[in-house]
């Protein structure tokens, strides 16, 4: 299958490892949290405060705050905006992210 990276002929540097809830996943230099999770086949990484429903990317540009996630113990980071660094620890966020 053709991929967006093929289409744009991207030649990123070597992948590095980050963790999602302790599980290792690969990320590429320049990728946001959302991009790395999508690449790993993951589309939801938080549950809502009220009904505990799963959420992931919605607007993709930082307007909607649906993709909130905990990065290196800081909750409520917008996954579509935050770039990853080697060793970053991502945690799925439950509710406000403050009651864990």
């Amino acid at each position: 299958m053709r991929s967006p990276r093929d289409l744009a002929d991207a030649r990123p540097g070597p992948a590095f490892t980050v963790t999602l809830d302790g599980r290792e996943i690969e990320a590429l230099p320049g990728q946001t949290v959302a991009a790395a999770l999508w690449t790993a086949g993951i589309t939801s990484w938080r549950t809502t405060r009220g009904a505990g429903r799963p959420r992931g990317v919605f607007c993709g540009i930082g307007v909607c705050f649906d993709c909130l996630v905990t990065v290196n113990d800081r909750p409520n980071q917008r996954a579509c905006l935050v770039p990853l660094n080697p060793g970053d620890a991502i945690r799925t966020q439950e509710g406000t992210g403050h009651d864990e």
């Binding site: 299958m1 053709r2 991929s3 967006p4 990276r5 093929d6 289409l7 744009a8 002929d9 991207a10 030649r11 990123p12 540097g13 590429l28 230099p29 320049g30 990728q31 946001t32 959302a34 991009a35 999508w38 690449t39 589309t43 939801s44 809502t48 405060r49 009220g50 009904a51 429903r53 799963p54 959420r55 992931g56 990317v57 919605f58 607007c59 993709g60 540009i61 930082g62 307007v63 909607c64 705050f65 649906d66 909130l68 800081r74 980071q77 579509c80 905006l81 935050v82 770039p83």
Partner: protein
């Protein structure tokens, strides 16, 4: 001697902001271009992160040559010390500053730095130009909060900026010209696009044929997209709408149905399309937060601008989608005019509009074209009938359609503010940006300017110390 040149702050590095920056800098003004992204380009020319080292980013873009020219001109001005480009600066407020009598207006642009948006930065300038663009409007339907449902623009932003897609099989749905490049972009990137579902019926285009045909370049652009979709075997369902998104923990399928001429779903026409991605959008809304805090007049949802793209607040210009949705070409024309006007006025001279007559003609033509297009792409007239009482409408606060209807019917709310106070719809993280149009439609209260005090969340510590920070050093 650069320090004696007047100083213009341009907010937003999309088409309008770039055109304005280049025009103003070329006419002897120092420009600080303040933008939230790591790379210039805005949403339309959104660039893949530099570290992804894309050798052919143009494969995902439209109008690449224009972008290259703008980018090169920006670089030239930056190198010459006439422009500084502050990337990763998220502006949360622009403040009118008191200056010595007779010194003219002054402004302080307040920004938060980097992806975490914790640390403050301030820019002081003689004038500001708002090129803050727009964002997508999505009207709710059952299942629209499922992971896998994204805005059409969001799917495109992830594709252009991060070179990723959310799944393998997508449906692109809603209404508006954005759906075409989103569907073709996803298909070119290897996604199986099962259908493009557009609520406007072909008849709507025929009724506006004359106004639309006045812009043959745009018609040809639409035809090119249509041919590409055909090449990718994408099914086009015009006069159809998404009725429901299905799935437990994530999207598994959507049901689409035909609309009757009145904009109601035709009973019995529903069909289920399996997919793991739904890219959906119902048009665009202008970003007006900064203009509102400055006290600029709005015309409906748009920042009011005169022939020179001046707002009614002295020293504040506005260009691009913040003054009305109309695409990149219109944004470029408006940005050019705004930059030229600001340069002349900051030098204390009366500008001569004849010098930008071509941009004025483009602006007139494209505004007429987009007014016609907007009429064609109105969401289905009876879309609210698809919003069930248990459909979540305010995504942040999880307020349902039933609660919002009850606020009007049982509690007597007669305006959006009261609905918000009674239900919390619009009080969450996004401050009603996403649910605003839906709540207006469901209550019949009509959209009003929301008058948010800040354009994004601000740490209290930053707020407490605002105005105490030194102006950012500019070392050309």
């Amino acid at each position: 001697m650069t320090s004696e040149r007047p100083h213009l702050a341009v907010i937003g590095a999309g088409p309008a902001g770039l055109a304005a920056t280049v025009a103003a800098a070329s006419h002897g003004v120092r420009v600080t271009l303040v933008d939230a992204s790591a790379e210039a380009g805005g949403q339309f020319y959104r660039q893949p992160a530099a570290e992804l080292r894309a050798r052919r980013p143009q494969a995902l873009h439209h109008g690449w040559r224009t972008w290259e020219l703008l980018r090169d001109e920006l670089r030239t001005h930056v190198r010459a010390g006439l422009v500084r480009h502050l990337s990763d600066h998220h502006v949360w407020c622009v403040e009118r500053r008191r200056t010595a009598a007779g010194a003219g207006p002054g402004f302080t642009v307040h920004a938060l730095l980097g992806p975490e948006q914790q640390d403050p930065a301030e820019v002081r300038a003689d004038a500001v130009l708002l090129a803050t663009g727009g964002y997508e409007k999505v009207l709710p339907f059952p299942g629209w909060t499922l992971p896998g449902v994204v805005t059409a623009g969001g799917a495109q932003a992830m594709l252009k900026g991060t070179l990723t897609v959310g799944g393998r099989t997508a449906v692109v749905a809603g209404t508006g010209p954005l759906l075409l490049p989103v569907a073709t972009g996803l298909a070119a990137a290897g996604v199986d696009v099962a259908a493009l579902v557009e609520s406007a019926a072909p008849k709507a285009f025929v009724r506006r044929a004359r106004a639309l045909a006045a812009e043959p370049g745009k018609v040809a652009e639409g035809a090119r997209y249509a041919a590409e979709l055909l090449g990718h075997r994408v099914r086009l369902l015009a006069g159809h709408t998404v009725v429901e998104a299905h799935g437990a923990e994530r999207l598994e399928a959507v049901t689409v149905a035909a609309l009757d001429p009145d904009g109601r779903v035709r009973p019995g026409t529903g069909r289920r399309i399996p997919c793991d991605t739904l890219a959906v959008g119902h048009g665009m809304l202008p970003h007006t937060d900064l203009a509102e805090t400055l006290g600029c007049r709005l015309d409906g949802p748009d920042v009011h601008a005169d022939d020179e793209q001046r707002t009614d607040v002295p020293g504040v210009w506005a260009a691009g989608e913040t003054t009305g949705i109309g695409g990149a070409a219109l944004a470029l024309a408006e940005g050019h005019i705004a930059g030229r006007s600001a340069a002349a006025r900051l030098h204390g001279t009366e500008p001569d509009p004849d010098e930008w007559a071509a941009a004025t003609r483009t602006r007139t033509r494209l505004r007429a074209f987009f007014a016609a297009l907007d009429a064609v792409h109105a969401p289905p007239a009876h879309w609210t009938e698809q919003v069930t009482d248990d459909t979540v409408v305010c995504r942040c606060e999880e307020v349902t359609g039933g609660e919002i209807r009850a606020a009007v019917k049982d509690l007597g709310a007669a305006d959006l503010r009261t609905v918000k106070l009674l239900t919390r719809a619009g009080m969450g993280w996004c401050q009603g940006r996403v649910c605003g149009p839906a709540v207006a439609g469901l209550t019949g209260c009509g959209s009003t300017a929301s008058r948010r005090p800040f354009a994004r969340p601000v740490p209290l510590g930053v707020l407490a110390r605002a105005g105490e920070t030194e102006d950012l050093e500019w070392n050309p």
